[in-house]
Symmetry: C2
Subunit: 144 residues, 2 copies
DNA sequence: GCAGAAGTTGAAGCGAGCTTGAAGTCACGT
DNA sequence: ACGTGACTTCAAGCTCGCTTCAACTTCTGC
């Protein structure tokens, strides 16, 4: 069996069939149909699904994922250039997110024994509100 | 002005007042009230808010954040032990997420020129479906 | 060839995380 | 003391990402 039914795909990927159909409506996955109108998937779809799940797991929305995958040409085989372009965009995004996470982690470390996340005053924190000149919303922690 | 109104807090944090009130209902932030029933915030609340936003930005739910912050004793000043305990739990979570992101990024890199995220066969991918014996849903990419 | 499991569509429902609106109160400058 | 703008609560509404249901069809094994 070189092709998978939606049930098999679901079992193998751990994603509910309803979710897979939803992804199809959204355009994140595609399938061919049997003469009896049932979906059939090629095996690489598993990888695409796990990519989607992983991307979701780190906080990317379906729309972002959709757009990234839509960057692949549907008419022709993706060239190396297509992949490089796509990959570069993602790398930037992912590197940003990784940096944000590391900042969060490090802030947490530096907060031990300080209490700045509780309601008490933080001795380390920005006593004169020095970020104010950088505009509204300027906060050390937040990378956005 | 040592205390902030909800409007000032909103402007400084970049978070809508409606969201701040919502967080208060959920128990993520607290405020004291003026005689006229208006909210007043101490400056460290800014830090707490930015912490919440950063944590959200990397995919944590309000409930997870809520629980982490609830790990802080409300009655007494948090001790160093409280912080260490809280921090350790978060570190683990964050390290996991960072690892997941890095895996995603590296997979992407290894996919350049391969096409495994498109519908074409991936020459690098798991030709004999060797992960099948590890149970349903076993996929290299997905850390969960 | 028939039962039962698995598949199909479309519409409705759900929880999370807010936003919006209505109707009213408070705070502050002149 | 008054007007304007910021604040209050409560309820309803919205988007995202699915899940559930109903009514029906197709595929598989005996």
């Amino acid at each position: 069996m070189t092709e998978l039914t939606i049930g098999e795909l679901s079992e193998r990927s751990g994603i509910a069939t309803s979710a897979i159909r939803y992804y199809e409506v959204r355009g994140l996955v595609t399938s061919r149909r049997t003469p009896g109108n049932q979906r059939r998937y090629e095996r690489p779809m598993l990888r695409r699904l796990s990519f989607i799940r992983t991307a979701q797991g780190v906080g990317l929305s379906l729309e972002e994922i959709e757009q990234a995958l839509a960057g692949l040409p549907s008419g022709r085989t993706p060239t190396k250039a297509d992949w490089t372009r796509l990959s570069r965009g993602w790398r930037t995004r992912l590197d940003e997110r990784i940096a944000r996470l590391e900042r969060l982690r490090d802030t947490l470390d530096s907060c031990i024994g300080c209490g700045c996340l509780s309601l008490r005053r933080c001795t380390l924190s920005n006593p004169g509100d020095v970020l104010a000149p950088r505009g509204p919303g300027a906060v050390i922690l937040d990378g956005r």
